[in-house]
């Protein structure tokens, strides 16, 4: 079946999220078409990660709905279509006894399901994705012994091992030195353009996101803007974002 280019993989409809008395997200609506590379930016505490967690079902919205591959997140079961790179470098246990190979193998579990062991095919895929991110020579090293940039490559390899159609990344370059970060973004761009993977990236690094992503969504509790990246600077959205000034939302899909 030929899949239409403009199929929306993600549809967020009027999502709000209230935590205690704190309104973290207010009436957010946006869509992500297949093949997009969406950067979600905004100041600290703007609700970027909360929005991401609602989209992938780690949090339930207080109101509104999120659909992924056309299904309500609560009813979504095709998890093998999703890769997830959590905000990890800052908060994972560096003493955890797992090798790079073992961590990336975890990415295969969504494909295998409960009670099924891993196969030779899984191991071959682990090697392939590690080669793809340039980490194959580190397969037997402990994850905690790697640098921040290397760890992040391993986590993207784990996401790739699932053979997903979309990858979500939450602040992937925190704790990564600038050179490794720009190599990391080059890798993401390759995955998006060469492999056609849809990417959704949460980041506070607006400059980098505007340079790398196809679309930019600015969040400051509400959706301040959602525009093609090249329009972002032109329209000087940065000021509006940090003043919290509401602007008309432009909404375009790539062709």
């Amino acid at each position: 079946m030929q899949i239409e280019q403009t199929e929306n993989i993600i549809e967020v409809e009027d999502v709000s999220f209230v935590y205690g008395k704190n309104e973290v997200l207010r009436h957010i609506s946006l869509t992500v078409p297949r093949g997009d590379y969406l950067g979600i930016v905004g100041p600290n505490g703007a609700g970027k990660t909360t929005l991401l967690k609602i989209i992938i079902g780690l949090l339930l919205p207080s109101s509104g709905r999120a659909r992924i591959f056309g299904k309500e997140v609560s009813e979504f079961r095709a998890w093998e279509k999703i890769g997830y790179v959590p905000q990890k470098v800052t908060n994972f246990d560096v003493n955890f006894p797992a090798t790079v190979g073992e961590v990336v193998l975890m990415g295969r579990y969504a494909r295998r399901g409960l009670l099924k062991g891993v196969t030779a095919e899984d191991k071959a895929i682990v090697r392939r994705v590690l080669t793809e991110v340039g980490m194959e020579s580190h397969i037997h090293r402990l994850i905690g012994d790697l640098s921040g940039g290397e760890q992040q490559r391993v986590f993207i390899a784990r996401a790739l091992a699932t053979e997903p159609e979309i990858i979500f990344l939450d602040e992937p370059t925190i704790g990564v030195d600038p050179r490794a970060a720009s190599e990391f973004y080059a890798l993401l761009k390759r995955l998006n353009t060469d492999r056609g993977l849809t990417l959704v990236l949460v980041s506070h690094d607006i400059e980098m996101v505007v340079k790398e992503a196809k679309h930019v969504a600015c969040i400051d509790r509400k959706l301040v803007c959602h525009t093609p990246a090249e329009d972002f600077l032109k329209e000087n959205r940065l000021n509006s974002l940090f003043e919290g000034d509401f602007k008309i939302i432009t909404h375009q899909h790539p062709h």
Partner: protein, 266 residues
């Protein structure tokens, strides 16, 4: 050929059999508990199991069976309290730990003449292991191992990264419940070997020692298994010949290995 003196005592043979089983399953559970910062759960469940032993004594049924029942139910209660997040996780443990100890003391007070064997349950005594106990421990140990093997990859993923595991479709809540139930079973089975006060050591120390080696997950489990088996078996043999308390001897051997490892690794 004559057997060495130690094997002529059937209680020692039973102790060695039950001890090996417990030595095998304790680190398998322990690695998940330690890495998830759940070490105290082992201690809490151990205290809970004492209340189970007391109930067994009152009702005149096998203390291992009553301990299993009470710890299984309590483990679900602890998990419920923790995940409801109405109170802090450690506070939930403190409630169960002191609450079950209080219950145990009251019940044991009611069961007169129980004081002598109380010491056995607190600190372990392989003399108390009956043949039925050995079969029970063997059978349940097989169940624990089978469930762990079945859900091994899911438990590893949840332990490493619970959110990512959830996003890959692993039922994290059910897996947490499975882990709690297996911990409860393991703790109950370990009572005759090291006693309720020392069970946590059996579950935690071999794993913590193996973690010092900084190896892969699979190799860390193997190392913990070796440390555990060596400690339990040598502890039983040494305590037999030197006339020492078995549970304490086992735990002291584990601690010696741990200290040795720290020195070597410096």
């Amino acid at each position: 050929m004559e057997l060495p003196q130690i094997f002529q005592y059937s209680f020692v043979v039973r102790g060695l059999l039950a001890g090996s089983m417990v030595a095998i399953i304790a680190p398998l559970i322990g690695i998940f508990l330690v890495l998830r910062r759940y070490s105290l759960i082992a201690d809490t469940l151990a205290h809970v199991s004492l209340a189970g032993v007391a109930i067994g004594a009152l009702l005149g049924i096998s203390p291992i069976i009553s301990a299993i029942g009470v710890t299984l139910i309590s483990s679900l209660g602890i998990e419920r309290l923790r995940s409801a997040k109405k109170i802090y996780g450690e506070s939930a443990l403190a409630l169960f730990l002191s609450g079950s100890l209080a219950l145990a003391v009251v019940l044991l007070g009611l069961a007169h003449g129980f004081t002598a064997s109380l010491f056995n349950y607190l600190f372990g005594s392989i003399v108390t292991v009956t043949e039925t106990d050995v079969y029970l421990i063997l059978g349940l140990a097989v169940v624990v191992i089978a469930v762990l093997v079945a859900f091994y990859k899911e438990l590893v993923y949840i332990t490493f990264d619970e959110e990512a595991a959830h996003v890959s479709g692993i039922p994290t809540r059910s897996m947490n419940t499975v882990l709690m139930l297996l911990s409860a079973l393991t703790v109950s089975l370990a009572i005759p070997i090291v006693g309720v006060l020392l069970i946590a050591a059996l579950i935690v120390i071999p794993v913590v020692t193996a973690l010092q080696l900084r190896m892969s997950f699979a190799k860390t489990i193997i190392a913990a298994e070796i440390i555990s088996l060596v400690s339990v078996l040598s502890g039983i043999v040494i305590s037999f010949y030197a006339n020492l308390a078995t549970g304490g001897t086992i735990v002291l051997i584990m601690l010696l290995i741990f200290l040795g490892m720290l020195l070597v690794k410096r």
